[in-house]
């Protein structure tokens, strides 16, 4: 097991370098004129262009730029964004917010999806099953660009149940609505996967045993079937993080949460190489950790899976 960890760690390091390289390359490939992108539609005076080009090594070849970046990174310096802010500082601000948001979103999603998934698996084709199907479909057919403002309009502006926007140092309460919107991205998949998985496991022999033990259906399903059904769901949680990040691009904008998604879009839009790579590095680490946890969870959920 220890060896497993060491191996994963080594893999993680390689992945990290691979990912930063790829992202750096992508950013580079995508670069047309970062300074103009930064300036938006304003014309860029020649002297400014010159000074900034020099400052950010923009006219160096790709490998050299990557080299500068990595050199900084290895000494713990994430560099400065093209907006002249230390990237580390931006991350310190953005990550906690986004992690909080994603965490709430995932919890909401899992709670709803797993509960509804189980119920509809038990009563396949029943009223509940069909109702959830319709609701899921409605959510699916609304892109997040539609859903987020709509939710904001209804719950934040009209009904005023929750704050309309969240802001930088928002409390948990303010994050509830954006989290709900975010979670809608992944609920559909999780719900239906749970449903399929539970339905499959309901037909196992051990369910019969559990019932023969005189256990109530609640327990048979909530304990025996659920644990056997959780592997795909747990897997989804791991990858859903990616979907949440993608969704955060819109949601964070709509609810004014200066989180990772927003920083990334800004970085991508302004062709801010160091900024994007900095955030993606951490993102990749997050994925590495999350997927390691997911892999370990497999082993927790199903003891037949062993890692050497």
């Amino acid at each position: 097991m220890f060896r497993y960890f060491v191996r994963r760690l080594l893999q993680g390091v390689l992945t990290f370098f691979g990912a930063t390289f790829i992202v750096y390359a992508l950013m580079f490939a995508n670069q047309s004129d970062p300074l103009q992108a930064l300036a938006g539609e304003r014309p860029l005076p020649e002297n400014v262009r010159q000074a900034l080009t020099e400052r950010y090594h923009l006219d160096d070849p790709f490998i050299l730029q990557y080299g500068y970046y990595m050199k900084g990174l290895l000494t713990g310096d994430f560099g400065t964004s093209l907006t002249n802010r230390p990237i580390l500082e931006m991350m310190e601000q953005a990550w906690p917010t986004t992690i909080r948001l994603s965490f709430i979103a995932i919890i909401i999603a899992v709670l709803i999806a797993v509960t509804a998934g189980i119920v509809s698996a038990i009563r396949r084709g029943g009223v509940f099953d069909n109702t959830t199907l319709v609701i899921t479909l409605l959510l699916l057919s609304m892109p997040i660009v539609v859903l987020a403002p709509l939710a904001q309009l209804i719950f934040g502006m009209r009904l005023q149940w929750v704050p309309a926007t969240a802001g930088a140092d928002s409390g948990l309460f303010a994050l509830v609505l954006p989290a709900f919107v975010l979670s809608s991205l992944v609920i559909a998949t999780q719900l239906r996967v749970t449903r399929a998985s539970v339905a499959e496991n309901l037909r196992s022999d051990y369910v019969r045993t559990a019932r023969a033990k005189g256990l109530a259906d609640r327990r048979v399903i909530g304990v025996h079937v659920l644990r056997n059904s959780l592997i795909p769901v747990v897997t989804l949680i791991g990858t859903d993080l990616g979907n949440l990040m993608a969704g955060a691009i819109v949601t964070e904008g709509v609810f004014n949460i200066p989180g990772v998604g927003f920083m990334l879009v800004r970085g991508i839009r302004t062709e801010d190489g160091p900024l994007v790579v900095g955030f993606v590095s951490i993102l990749v680490i997050v994925f590495l950790v999350v997927n390691l946890v997911v892999d370990l969870l497999y082993a927790v959920l199903d003891p037949r899976i062993r890692y050497e």
């Binding site: 539609e41 601000q93 309009l153 926007t165 609810f255 004014n256 200066p258």
Partner: protein, 520 residues
């Protein structure tokens, strides 16, 4: 949030929505968010009245006999928020820093006209052999800036310019305190995080990036006192979020209500929904490298086939107005419909003229997709399709930079969408950058020596009136050549909460910070 019930209205803290400023160094704050905050922290030499005429604020007098050497006398009694007295040196040092090329200040080009500006720049030596390090410029200070006494200094321009007084109203020209400097000509690293100004408000804490900038009234300010105790500039990523927050009760002022909300805003806000003119000018340009748009008749026909009125009412819900001139009404010298017939909607005539001139069968309008332009571009295209019987497509490029790249590569982009906000209220600020040969925003490559000449003459004219006359002549050339199609003029469409009153937004899209008041 706004002021509590208990506090006096004058001590109330109000909140204004802005986007994340790019910089809070005056010479580098070239976009409206930074300018908005700095306007509270700094007091300009001159400001503009309702007729776009400059009036003195921090300056006692601004005089010139030849429009070349300008003597600026400062009012006594102004201090920076750290107690330093404001003097001539504060201006000279700030401006030198602004102009010095390697500092890369976005606003440095405002100082272009000052004598010695060229020596502060260096040529990029990048060439065949790849990038090289640029040599240091030959000078570090502008020869055109001279201190006369503690409160007086002179500015010498390389050429006479009658509009200089107006130019100095811009953000770049704010002074900087001694405390701002690390060493001579080098700003402190974190000065930007809590700028010290000479204005009615001072920073309260630091600039909290992507969250807020808080300012509070500066008691020792000698000028007009603000009517509120402080302003919380709350930073939003999207304008829709600002509006949502206004509706949700968490924000007091939204300076630009997004189109999406325009349908409901008047009813949502009632008399707190307001409009005022600003300097935004929207147009499409014809790239000169595309042969099919070579003929003026074609360009005019296209312009005539566009129903501006319909678009401003149906798409923009009245938040913009049709443009029929090549400059904005925000500047003196603006004439309505200087474009003439070409900007008057006449589909029949347009079609006839278009066919006669043999215009292209397909028209493309390229725009940047991140700016919310799709709706009106599509609508314009639909009009062109219907009115000219051509095929018209709007093509979105992800970013404005991409659009520019395509133009630079001379790709067949078709009509390109452009917009302009003025730096200072002079006709010249539209004519020069937009239509002058090599103008900073003349992306489509229009070049007419006669026009350039007239603009130049206007700038050098001894009086404003004469200048305007010459500039208007230049504008007439544009009407003849039709290098662009003027489309729309912007308006500030803003709204505020019940906690504030006397909210006004100026032509630079800034809230008039000295006028706004809290309702008690």
């Amino acid at each position: 949030g706004g002021g509590g019930d208990e506090t006096e209205a004058a001590d109330a803290v109000i909140s204004i929505g802005i986007g994340e400023p790019q910089h809070l160094i005056p010479s580098n704050a070239t976009e409206s968010n930074g300018a908005e905050v700095l306007a509270a922290l700094f007091s300009p030499l001159v400001d503009f009245d309702a007729d776009n005429k400059p009036y003195l604020v921090a300056a006692e007098s601004v005089e010139s006999t030849d429009n070349k050497v300008w003597t600026i006398k400062l009012k006594d009694g102004y201090t920076f928020h750290n107690g330093e007295k404001v003097g001539a040196d504060n201006y000279i040092n700030a401006w030198n820093h602004a102009a010095y090329g390697p500092n890369g200040n976005g606003g440095s080009y405002f100082l272009e006209r000052v004598e010695g500006y060229k020596d502060l720049q260096s040529k990029d030596p990048d060439g065949e052999e790849g990038p090289k390090k640029a040599p240091d410029p030959v000078a570090k200070t502008l020869t055109g800036l001279k201190k006369v006494d503690e409160l007086t200094f002179t500015v010498t321009l390389s050429e006479p310019f009658s509009g200089w007084r107006s130019v100095m109203g811009y953000t770049t020209f704010y002074p900087l305190p001694a405390a701002a400097w690390q060493s001579e000509g080098v700003l402190k690293e974190d000065f930007e995080q809590a700028p010290i100004g000479n204005g009615p408000f001072k920073m309260k804490g630091k600039w909290e990036h992507d969250a807020k900038v808080e300012v509070e009234a500066y008691d020792a300010f000698p000028g007009d006192k603000p009517k509120v105790g402080g302003v919380n500039y709350r930073i939003f990523q999207e304008q829709t979020a600002q509006y949502a927050e206004l509706m949700g009760g968490g924000l007091d002022v939204v300076t630009q209500i997004p189109i999406e909300n325009l349908a409901s805003a008047p009813t949502d806000l009632g008399d707190r929904f307001k409009t005022s003119p600003n300097s935004v000018f929207q147009f499409v340009g014809f790239p000169t490298f595309q042969k099919e748009f070579e003929k003026v008749e074609v360009r005019k026909a296209i312009s005539m086939a566009i129903n501006r009125e319909e678009i401003t009412t149906s798409i923009f819900r009245g938040s913009q107005t049709p443009a029929t001139s090549f400059v904005s009404p925000a500047v003196a010298g603006y004439r309505e419909n200087s474009c003439g017939e070409a900007c008057t909607y006449d589909p029949a005539k347009a079609k006839a003229a278009y066919e006669a001139a043999g215009g292209p069968k397909q028209i493309k309008i390229t725009y940047n997709a991140d700016g919310g332009h799709k709706a009106w571009v599509d609508a314009t295209c639909n009009q062109l399709k219907a009115n000219l019987g051509v095929d018209c497509v709007g093509t979105g490029e992800p970013k404005f930079a991409d659009l520019l790249t395509k133009v630079e590569n001379k790709e067949p982009v078709g009509l390109i969408r452009l917009g302009w906000i003025m730096d200072y209220p002079l006709m010249e600020n539209y004519l020069g950058p937009l239509y002058g040969t090599g103008g900073s925003s003349n992306y489509y490559g229009y070049s007419n020596p006669e026009f350039d000449n007239l603009v130049k003459q206007g700038s050098a004219a001894p009086t404003q009136e004469e200048a305007i006359k010459l500039w208007q002549q230049a504008e007439d050339i544009l009407a003849r050549d039709m290098p662009v199609i003027p489309l729309r003029l912007g308006q500030n469409v803003f709204g505020h909460s019940e906690r504030v009153k006397n909210v006004e937004v100026d032509k630079f899209q800034k809230v008039e910070i000295l006028k706004i008041e809290a309702t008690s």
